[in-house]
Amino acid sequence: MRRRSTLTTVVLYVVLAAGSVAFVYPFLWMIATSLRSPAGVGSSGASVVPREFLWDNYIRAVTSFPFWRYTLNSVLTTLIPIVGTVLSCSLAGFAFARLRVRFSGVVFAVVLATMLLPGEVTMVPQFMLFNNLGMIDTLYPLILPAFFGSPFFIFLFRQFFARMPGELADAAVVDGCGWFRTFWSVYLPLARPAVVAVSILLFMGYWNNFLGPAIYINSDQWKTLPLALAGFQSVNGTDTPLLMATSVLITLPCLALFFAAQKHITQGITFTGGK
């Protein structure tokens, strides 16, 4: 390729820098505001220069409502569903990729078709189902469905297992492994990159899930962090620093995960790119 002229390079940098400032600015503003006093919010406007460091806002965020209780609920409704989804989807994905069985193509087409079905269509009847089971206002409706596979991730795992060499399965079967052992001890350990990438994607999804808790949770003790924050917003609508501090705290696990696993996220995205 031809080399870029200096002028193009400079223009490129200026455009990127300007865009980056615009993008990162609300983010910095959120952090700066979370450290101000309510009076300071009014006087500093758009500035992100921290003049005050009221760490007290964070202490208030953690103590003024049952923060740890909500965190526990959020952790439970994030980690358990991740395990459930990874197990059920990798197992099904393996079956679709490696087991040659009549009708497997047809069944897989059904799996793909359900991807187009928005969850909202089954939202009301699912509520009635859980209502019949007596599970309203518990965390179970947010946890149990994860153990029954999700079409998108079955598809991802199938793609991943299909790209792995089939000789592995042959060798394992010759060595006397059953199909489950072949999956569990041979293929699943080799699929670690896919498992990690899927887990990260799922974490972001479950951690920020709002519709589910909004439907199933009524009582305070089972609220998850996003649901609590939404309620908090309508009650303490004017205490900006407190709201920003709580928002920062909710975002923190996602940020930490991002910086800890940046490489895996990029990898996961190449799986999901859909080419």
Binding site: L12, S20, F27, F96, V101, V110, L116, T240, T251, L255
Partner: protein, 348 residues
């Protein structure tokens, strides 16, 4: 609650099952019973046809999905059709009313408003997001120092999602103390009322949605890295300039990824909910997103029949939009396989 379920729960509680686990017991019993049947059947098949082990393993491995599909998708959808033909408040038994819910929905001005708001949001925000994400990905794809930092910065906002993002932007766009109007004020422009102004609320949500294009951008970046370099080399030898390379190499190579993202984007945009919930539908219903209106009917007003009818209307709308995108893209998307089959045909 179902009477049998209630009876099982009482029994479980009497047997000393901890209170937290009691709601789980009926469901687990159901699952155990199901798997006992499945296990017996599998055992029988393997005894009778020892060589069918692959088929047995296959059906066992996909059984979680199959069961989930039956109890969380097919069952609910079937009952949803019935419920949409009834009037039901969850307390008194459902009353059959025919297609009254549907006729009501077509006459309900708020349904019209909800459809309008949701479709406008989808039709405007998805192309904007796609274009922005793609352009940024193109810019960031150049091999220059510092690009890693820029990539991180552009991706960062997509980590602030859902309620946290909405709460942040309620303040960014606060007419009095917000970030946006302070910046505009310094430029000598009097900022609008954003979320508080019925005519500005929807544009504000669209603007806000652009903040999180980082996710799509990373997907495009990965795709751009996958474009075979020899295509560019060949184009350069043929004397193509940068613009023509973009038009004849980059764009066709990227088109399947763009379509995939646009499709998921459209489906996702029609399911927008949080923004409606947090603002209670916005001033003068300007943020009455369809799923929020559905939620409001089902879980605030307990009109299960009407809400089910609304869900089916949403389903049809999503299906129609997906089909339109597919048809519309057929001439614009380039698939590798198409060319190879064409070549094979020619070789014959």
């Amino acid at each position: 609650m179902n009477p049998t379920v209630g009876w099982i729960r009482e029994l479980a509680a009497a047997w000393g099952v901890p209170g937290l686990l009691v709601p789980l017991v009926p469901f687990l019993l159901l699952l155990i019973a199901l798997y006992a049947v499945i296990g017996l059947a599998a055992y029988g098949v393997r005894r009778r046809w020892p060589r069918a082990d692959q088929a047995v393993a296959f059906w066992l491995f996909i059984s979680p999905w199959l069961i989930g599909f039956a109890i969380f998708t097919v069952g609910p959808m079937a009952s949803s059709i019935y419920v949409s033909l009834t009037s039901w408040d969850l307390i008194t038994p459902p009353k059959y009313v025919g297609i009254a819910n549907y006729t009501e929905a077509f006459q309900d001005p708020r349904v019209g408003q909800a459809l309008k708001v949701t479709l406008l949001y989808g039709v405007i925000s998805v192309p904007l997001q796609t274009a922005l994400a793609f352009v940024v990905a193109l810019l960031l794809n150049t091999e220059l120092p510092g690009m890693r930092l820029f990539r991180t910065i552009w991706y960062l906002p997509s980590l602030v999602s859902g309620v946290a993002q909405m709460v942040l932007f309620l303040w960014v766009f606060n007419p009095q103390y917000g970030l946006a109007n302070d910046v505009l004020g310094k430029l000598g422009i009097e900022g609008p009322g954003w979320f508080n102004d019925a005519s500005w609320a929807l544009p504000t949500v669209i603007l806000m949605s652009l903040w999180t294009v980082g996710g799509a951008m990373v997907i495009y970046l990965a795709g751009l890295k996958d474009v075979p370099p020899n295509l560019y080399e060949a184009a350069a030898i043929d004397g193509a300039g940068r613009l023509r390379m973009f038009w004849h190499v980059t764009l066709p190579q990227m088109s399947p990824i763009i379509l995939f993202n646009a499709l998921t984007g459209i489906i996702g945009s029609l399911q927008i909910f949080t923004q409606g919930f947090v603002t209670n539908g916005g001033p003068k219903d300007s943020l009455l997103f369809f799923v929020y209106y559905l939620y409001d009917n089902a879980f605030q007003n307990f009109r299960m029949g009407y809400a089910s009818a609304l869900a089916w209307i949403l389903f049809v709308v999503i299906l129609a939009l997906t089909a339109v995108t597919f048809r519309g893209s057929a001439f614009a998307v380039y698939y590798e396989t198409e060319l190879t089959t064409r070549r094979k045909r020619r070789a014959r």
